[in-house]
């Protein structure tokens, strides 16, 4: 019988998977694998933070400028996660992406709504409308990194390490996933918060650029730790 006081999805302690790289973007700062790689005191606009990081990291991907805020944020965090890691060794179908947030695509929903709410200036645009789905960021990441495996977008009020862990753990245990990007990509107005982690199987992880980052066990505690660390 399961202990009723514990969430029933905590079945085991996962020792098989490890977090080999992560990125956290929040409050004008960007942390990659425990290192602060970007910080600027006075930037207030989210779009400016993104642009500065994009430039600083010398990323060249013209499609970036067409993306909405959620996609830009998720894309950028993933670029930084994968800067020190490579996915090339994996079969595209064996790499998964599991992302989540609170406000879905509300930021872009409001933008699309602005184009239709007044009948005298009714001008909906497909380039805005396509981003009114939260999973488009997954599509952008998959295109960029040629990922073709399991993918899902989950919604929860606040970051939920249990939800992410149970979903991703299941992919490794029963769905033949060998690597998985997972995390949180939230943007609304000037408030933004992203965390993306690369999870791989211990002992079978693909070596990237050597770094001093010591992989973390993939578990709820460490997901929460990455999400809240300063």
């Amino acid at each position: 019988m399961a202990d009723a006081t514990l969430p029933s999805y905590i079945r085991k302690i996962n020792m098989d998977q490890i977090i080999t790289s992560y990125c956290r973007i929040r409050d004008n700062e960007v942390i990659v694998n425990d290192r602060l790689i970007f910080y600027q005191e006075n930037i207030v606009k989210f779009a400016e933070v993104l642009k500065s990081v994009y430039k600083q990291e010398q990323i060249i991907y013209p499609k970036f400028y067409k993306m909405d805020a959620v996609s830009k944020l998720g894309f950028l965090a993933t670029e930084l996660v994968l800067k020190e890691k490579v996915l090339e060794g994996y079969h595209p179908g064996a790499v998964g992406v599991v992302l989540s947030n609170s406000s879905s695509s509300l930021e872009t929903d409001i933008a699309h709504n602005e184009t239709i709410k007044d009948r005298s200036s009714y001008f909906p645009s497909p380039s805005v409308f396509v981003y009114t789905l939260p999973n488009i960021v997954i599509g952008e990441i998959c295109i960029r990194h040629k990922i073709k495996g399991e993918n899902v977008f989950l919604i929860s009020e606040a970051f939920n390490g249990n939800l992410l862990f149970s979903y991703v753990d299941e992919l490794f245990t029963n769905e033949r996933v060998d690597a998985c990007l997972c995390g949180w990509v939230e943007v609304l107005g000037n408030k933004y918060n992203a965390m993306i982690a690369l999870v791989e199987s211990a002992g079978r992880e693909i070596q990237g650029t050597p770094t001093s980052f010591k992989p973390l066990l993939f578990n709820i505690e460490n997901l929460n730790l990455i999400m809240t660390r300063n």
Binding site: I116, F129, V130, L133, G139, N151, L154
Partner: protein
């Protein structure tokens, strides 16, 4: 593959049974009403001239608002709820009527901590962005988790819902998520529901893509010119314990998703990635292409989607298998589509009937498919349900009769 030694084998996995279901669309408020309409070849897609929905008339499949309100008040009465009906949004009413009907007489307790609750939706209460609702509902209600909380509270689910918002595959992903959690023993029962409304918001968006058909949509037909939008809700109740009094047991036996990694609003050119999901789901179900009796396709009736699907079906070795799209009856219901089309597929398995693919007359996809042109009975043992959507996502799930 030493790692896979630790995997659950088929014998360790719990079987996942379909206990009951509901469909709400323009064709009715229960599975039986919808299926009866389909058996009589009734099409729910009509030209609607409502300036609140679109500046010009538009073909949609709409749920009758008066009937919905009447059904909703009935539910409130039967549950002795004193909440005023107007304190719920249109979509919440659909969800509540659908879940209430599917739970009836099943003995599944939402309050049981072993009962999982999964919601699929693309846009939730997106109509609340419209000026007419600003003063009626709080802004918070636009958040999918807030809508989920309202539904959780209404039925007294002890677990907060797992909310899937993954474009047009959301419904199939919701079923897959519940299947995985029940299979592995994390939960014993699940209530899976999916819904979306045909709002001004989505109509304008699809119009801007020039993706809407001026006539009721024609999946897989040579003259298809786009999709028809619809709205609705579907609910399926699952359990690891079969309903002993039911004569027929239907189980979920495999499911998978994939991504095209090609384009955010256009499908794969080859169908290779949808085929990857199909092959993975079949393998999990321990079926080969020769064992699939029927394909319940996505079939949106846009030129590129149906073309891609036909290629995926060929790559999966399934071109001889009877296939249909239910969207010719009730349009593309977005986050509800995977759910209501799963219910239709499950009904096909139960009744041994293959439904005509409405709108189909002349083959019009590059690969010759066995599109069902008339309702007919057949011995159906297994069904493959597929879905594809924006963001390049694909999903496949297998329903099997014991």
């Amino acid at each position: 593959m030493e790692k896979k030694m630790g995997c659950l084998t088929a014998d360790d996995m719990n079987p996942v049974y379909i206990l009951n279901d509901n469909i709400i669309t323009s064709l009715g408020f229960s599975t039986a009403e919808n299926i009866s309409a389909i058996e009589h070849n009734t099409i729910g897609i009509r030209l609607v001239n409502d300036p609140l929905l679109s500046p010009s008339p538009v073909m949609i499949s709409a749920v009758n608002p008066d009937e919905l309100n009447a059904k909703f008040s009935e539910v409130l009465r039967s549950l002795k709820k004193s909440a005023p009906p107007e304190s719920f949004t249109r979509l919440e009413k659909m969800f509540i009527v659908s879940i209430h009907d599917a739970l009836k007489d099943q003995g599944i307790m939402p309050g049981n901590p072993r009962t999982l609750f999964v919601i699929s939706t693309t846009k939730g209460n997106v109509d609340l962005l419209e000026n007419r609702y600003q003063a009626v509902f709080s802004h918070k209600r636009l958040y999918l988790w807030e809508m989920g909380r309202i539904l959780q509270q209404f039925f007294g689910f002890s677990n907060p819902p797992v909310i899937i918002s993954n474009a047009c595959i959301s419904g199939v992903v919701a079923m897959m998520t519940a299947y995985r959690h029940l299979r592995s023993g994390t939960y014993d029962h699940a209530v899976v529901t999916g819904g979306d409304i045909a709002s001004e918001f989505v109509i304008a968006g699809f119009q801007s893509f020039q993706a809407l058909s001026p006539l009721p949509c024609k999946p897989f037909d040579i003259n298809r010119t786009g999709l028809s939008l619809g709205e609705g809700c579907g609910t399926i109740v699952l359990s690891v314990i079969p309903n002993k009094s039911a004569g027929i047991h239907i189980r979920i036996t495999g499911a998978a998703t994939s991504n095209d990694a090609n384009h955010i609003s256009g499908p794969s050119r080859t169908g290779e990635e949808l085929s990857m999901a199909i092959m993975k789901a079949m393998k999990q179900a321990d079926l080969t292409s020769a064992n699939i009796s029927y394909i319940a396709a996505h079939g949106t009736a846009t030129p590129f989607n149906d073309e891609m699907e036909s290629k995926a079906i060929e790559l999966s070795g399934l071109i001889l298998v009877p296939v249909n799209s239910m969207k010719g009856y009730w349009g593309h219901t977005l986050g509800a589509a995977g759910m209501i089309e799963s219910v239709a597929a499950i009904t096909a398995l139960k009744k041994n009937i293959l439904f005509r693919s409405a709108g189909f007359e002349t083959p019009g996809v590059p690969v010759p498919l066995n599109v069902i042109s008339e309702h007919h009975t057949a011995n159906i043992k297994s069904c493959l349900k597929t879905a594809s959507g924006f963001g390049g996502c694909n999903a496949a799930i297998i329903y099997q009769k014991d």
